[in-house]
Amino acid sequence: MKKSAATAFSALVRRDLLLAYRYRAEIVNPLLYFVIIVSLYPLSVSSEPKVLATIASGVIWVAALLSALLSLDSMFRSDYEDGTLEQILMSPHPTAVLVLAKVTAHWITTGLPLVVIAPLLALSLHLDAAAFPALLLSLLIGTPALSLLGAIGIALTVGLRRGGLLLAILILPLYVPILVLSSTAIQLAAEKVPYSGPLLMLGALSVLALTLAPLATAAALRISLR
């Protein structure tokens, strides 16, 4: 009885979640980074509720971007170092499916906690109550795209010894539409104006990333492992 790609997908997701659980202290790091960046803005810009309410959407999303960047390294690094990545590439299952499994596990361990914590931070930044649904939706739709597009970047730089900042330079231009569309949606919601437009565009971008990013990542992994 041949095993399907779905079995391999779920096995890989389960394995990655197991690994994350085993080192669950490390899940907190990107979250803490997120919280610290958000708290830097009221400290440096202004602590007036009015000003904070205006910049809240941008602050949260920029912090989410930077936190996603930080957490991306863990996606392929340890697999690359102990040779498991090569074994994944040599599996007869489509590499894109296995890559998608890794990205899913990564999103569950890094993107989902962001979605949970962000409303609390938004509350502290005095974000208008009407904007909270938009905030949650934009994070739910946008963070998978962050993981997917980031996977392309980390796949390209995983073989480099000094990849660090190069990853940021590669991926941040790709992240710009996600940031801008989400911020627009939240700001429109705060002004009590219909905000489905940017969210739909964000959804389109996420779906595009879901379809094409695993393929690009698989190709990039093959190239990096030469």
């Binding site: 597009l149 392309i152 970047g153 390209l156 730089t157 073989g159 480099l160 000094r162 990849g163 190069l166 330079i169 590669l170 941040l172 231009p173 790709l174 710009v176 539409p177 801008v180 569309l181 911020s183 627009t184 700001q187 429109l188 437009g197 940017p198 565009m201 971008l205 595009l208 094409l212 990013a213 690009a216 190709a219 990039a220 190239i223 990096s224 030469r226």
Partner: protein, 362 residues
């Protein structure tokens, strides 16, 4: 025999350049749409359509609106409406574009007829040695034409083009600004195409072309941003307008170019570097429309529109040097690209026999 071959290549290069220009050349028209009676005609904004398809759409829209308005002109002065819809001087602009397109179609048809020699040519350029010697023959011509066109365009634009109503002489920087931005966009598409070819078929010359195009594109984008900010600073006193969607998109394009250059230099093995850069170029190519969309959306929200011209049309005496300058930049880009490609070829083939012969011979 030799002269025949050169003539074919010359026509082919001309055809390719025309293709690039027609695909991306801008065609500016006043905004079409329902014009309410109390609107001040001068306050209508501009739209720019790109390429032959865009031109066709604009012309078609204009003809349709024209027919609609001709029955409904009791509210407005008919002449004013016609002036709004088909401003003076644009008719000849349309005609020139259609003529150029016809020429392009003729060249493509000729190309199909000479299909074998073209595919033979493409196969031969796969050999780096052949390309090295071939580009040696092209570069002097391209440079000469570029210099010539630059001279003509600059003299025409700086001396003979009329003064703008509002900006007097300060607008003349567009003769550098617009070609630079146009070429940097075209060059990105070219780079992405070469990257795709190099990635899929592992053709070395495509990888080298993609790698050589990146710094050139980055430089042109930087020139476009710098001249744009000089222009803005001079005329509207805003050196950097964070709200301008076009400026933001070009800035992101600059970052993308720089990231491509960064990745290329970070990987030591040339082959791996070329493939990795290709994936990044293609991913960024897919994202760029989203960047433009999102930045436009964000900025229309905040109503930061920049009006470039306050006239209803671009005076053909201004448009002509602009087109000449665009072609001049294209030839310049081609010449510089080939020079960089030659240097890359020598570097990557430095261990082969023909290069050592070359070095010994000279």
């Amino acid at each position: 025999m030799k002269i025949r071959i050169n003539f074919n290549y010359f026509l082919l290069s001309l055809g390719c350049l025309l293709l690039l220009s027609l695909l991306l050349a801008p065609h500016t028209q006043p905004l079409q749409g329902a014009i309410p009676p109390e609107t001040n005609a001068k306050a209508i904004g501009y739209q720019t359509e790109f390429g032959p398809i865009g031109t066709g759409i604009t012309v078609f829209k204009r003809r349709v609106l024209n027919s609609r308005f001709s029955s409904d002109t009791t509210l407005l002065n008919k002449e004013k409406v016609e002036q709004m819809i088909q401003p003076k001087g644009t008719r000849r602009f349309d005609r020139n574009f259609w003529l150029a397109e016809l020429l392009f179609i003729v060249l493509i048809a000729y190309g199909f007829g000479r299909y074998d020699s073209i595919t033979g040519f493409i196969k031969k350029t796969g050999s780096l040695k052949y390309t090295y010697h071939l580009s040696a023959r092209f570069i002097p011509w391209l440079t000469a034409i570029a210099v010539l066109l630059l001279l003509i365009g600059l003299v025409d634009g700086l001396v003979f083009a009329p003064i703008d109503a509002k900006q007097k002489d300060a607008y003349r920087i567009i003769f550098i600004h617009v070609p630079a931005s146009s070429i940097s966009l075209q060059l990105y598409v070219f780079m992405a195409l070469m990257a795709a070819i190099g990635l899929i078929w592992h053709i070395k010359i495509a990888e080298i072309l993609a790698a050589a195009a990146a710094p050139l594109g980055a430089a042109l984008t930087a020139i476009s941003l710098i001249t744009g900010s000089i222009w803005g600073g001079g005329t509207w006193n805003t050196f950097w307008e964070w709200g301008d969607p076009r400026m933001m998109s070009v800035l992101i394009l600059l970052f993308i170019y720089l990231s491509i250059m960064g990745l290329n230099s970070a990987i030591e093995d040339r082959r791996t570097a070329a493939s990795a850069t290709a994936i990044l170029t293609l991913s960024a190519l897919v994202i760029i429309p989203f960047v433009i969309l999102s930045v436009n959306y964000f900025n229309t929200l905040h109503q930061a529109q920049t009006q470039i011209f306050n006239k209803n049309s671009m005076d053909p005496r201004m448009a002509r040097p602009l087109v000449i300058m665009i072609f001049a930049f294209m030839f310049y880009t081609a010449a510089t690209l080939l020079m960089r490609v030659r240097a890359e070829i020598i570097h990557s083939e430095r261990n082969t026999q023909w290069v050592s012969e070359e070095a010994a011979g000279s």
